[in-house]
Amino acid sequence: MLLTNYIISAWRNIYNHKLFSAINILGLSIGLAAVMLIALFVRDEASYDNFWTKADRIYRTYITFNIPGRDSMISVQTPGPVIHALKKDFPQVENAARIFLSEPTIILNGNYFLEDISIVDADIINIFDFNVLSGDLVNAMSDFSSLVLNETVARKYFGEQNPIDQIITIEFGIFKKDYKVAAIIEDMPTNSQLNITAMVAIDEDAWKDRSYMFEQWFSTNTQLYFNLNEGANIADVEEQMEDFINRNFPRLPFGGTDTKTADLVSLSVMNVKDLHLKSVGMGEYRQRGSINSVLTFSAVAILILIIASINFMNLSTARASQRAKEVSLRKVMGASRKNLIFQFLGESILVTLLGLLISFAIVELTLPIYNDILGKELFISYASTDIVSIVILALCVGGLSGTYPALVLSSFLPAENLKANKTVETSSSVKLRSALVIFQFAVSIVLFVSTAVVYGQMLYAKNMDLGYDHKNLLVINDLNPWCRTRSTSHPVYN
């Protein structure tokens, strides 16, 4: 078979020119590995919250205050009463729920712990998908004395014991109450802006003394999620938002007599899938991503891929003179230009696939450090379409960067080669190669300098003088004035 001959010839070419092949394959595999690592990051960033069954119709509100004489202020937390008005005024809202992430002290068997507890409206379970591992989630959410834990938190407190019906005391500051563990849910995926590890239902009566939590119209403390009925259009809701504000929010003591509340406050919505990369304002419970870093990293990945391809192309065409004899001979023996292009393209793809194998090894070796730096749990799923996309990517790189060398090589004229066995690379090919080398170096230098600047900034941020010594410094939140006086008068504080 012609194909067998191509493979033999390609393999022996790789094997007989070990240094050249090593540089070529390693260059390509480092490039591919970098691209894969960046792609994993970008994909993870772009995948936030798009796995919810109702993702397309789940929204979160955010509020903007435009108070005269002040900078405008955006908060992703919405005043507590908005939910009731929203449900009343918009029939297309199917479910709505608030989330307040608190960090109370919990007491178990006389031990004290700090734990994240989300205080939520019961409808939360109808908006998002919760996988219940044990207990009854629906009942848990309709009972103010029930507590829902995720698997990790349940294991933290109860180990292998059955956590259901166990009692945990929660000290919320304003009240202290015993809760019964009523359901265990699967841990939420990490690629979500939602971070519910334990939750109890909002009992507005119990929080009466802190009316700013759920009752005041201009106090932003809870994130408000809602989902629309199927087929409903969010634009209809957005359109009516001004009227909604004027109708429901109390008037603010700013502006003239004809100033409406909607002139000072606006309420907007953002789809849950956009929250991670596009949401702005304070009050986020989980660290956001940045669309800019996603775009920058994607651009960097494309540049790396281009550099790797150019490197591959240049190395291949530079070695063309050594292949001139083979090309000419094959032509003499009857090979058409198409045969030769096919052969050299195939060779490029073979080299790329070898590079791909090595790049998998590089990715697997560097992923733990990479995940550490990013604080993510990225991995290549070999049993999914990941592998197909990666192989297709590698084939494209091999194909694209192999095309030019294949065209150059297959254009050699046997009459000029077989006699003198000299280089017949045309001057235009040499010029193109020089131009590509210049481009390759320019892009590399830009990437180098950018990396150096970012690294310098990171070092600066790490080592800058904060104006105080953060060692031996204890930060205590939420102290009463009398407690502050008493504690700071203690001899251990200076």
Binding site: N5, V332, M333, G334, L418
Partner: protein, 225 residues
């Protein structure tokens, strides 16, 4: 078998035009053994390249088996070449990455021949040129004489009716040169047309006709008795 009529080949650069072949008229019959001689630069190799369809003439006619191929494209010439013409070069031109058998098989690869038949033909031709024991060796493991035998085998394995040999003994010592010449002679006796460029008068004596070129012109043609 081939007829060159008023054939001219000129190479042009920006400033000068070099005429490598000037109004050349040559007839070569089936089964002939023709030697082409002349000093360096007289146009021998250009003539062989055109005859071998590796190059095209600037003007004139080239009839191959009665067909004027002078204006044919590279692809059209390639089809005729692979069916009819075998090549032997001074520097052997074997592919370093392929073994002896694979190098010979190369001449059959671009034909539509099943693998089993290819293997048989390669084995037969290796026997014929006495290189069968080296079938799996790489060209770098062979002597010059052995490499040229492989090249001869490659030139004939496709049952080509004409072999073009460009100084086939130029890189060989006398004994090996002799061996190759005898091989060519035998092929010719079996009916293969051979056109050979050579500097060696003694090797030219193997041919029945010698064409002498000078500055792109055919100056003399002599027949061996």
């Amino acid at each position: 078998m081939l007829k060159l009529q008023d054939l001219t080949k000129a190479y042009r650069t920006d400033e000068v035009e070099t005429v490598a072949l000037n109004n050349v008229n040559i007839d070569i019959e089936h089964g002939e053994f023709v030697a082409i001689m002349g000093p360096s630069g007289c146009g021998k190799s250009t003539l062989l390249n055109i005859v071998g369809m590796l190059d095209t003439p600037t003007s004139g006619h080239y009839f191959f088996n009665g067909e004027d191929v002078a204006g044919y494209s590279e692809a059209q010439l390639g089809v005729i070449r692979k069916q009819h013409i075998g090549f032997i070069f001074q520097s052997f031109n074997l592919i370093d990455e392929l073994s002896v058998a694979e190098n010979i098989e190369l001449a059959l690869l671009y034909h539509d021949i099943p693998a089993s038949e290819r293997k048989e033909r390669v084995a037969a031709v290796m026997d014929k040129v006495g290189i069968a024991h080296r079938a799996k060796h790489m060209p770098s493991q062979l002597s010059g004489g052995q490499q040229q035998r492989v090249a001869v085998a490659r030139a004939v394995v496709g049952n080509q009716s004409m072999i073009l040999a460009d100084e086939p003994t130029g890189n060989l010592d006398t004994a090996h040169g002799q061996e190759v010449m005898e091989m060519l002679q035998k092929l010719n006796e079996e009916g293969t047309t051979i056109v050979m460029v050579t500097h060696s008068p003694s090797h030219a004596d193997y041919a029945r006709r010698t064409i002498n070129l000078l500055d792109g012109h055919v100056v003399t043609e002599s027949m061996r008795a």
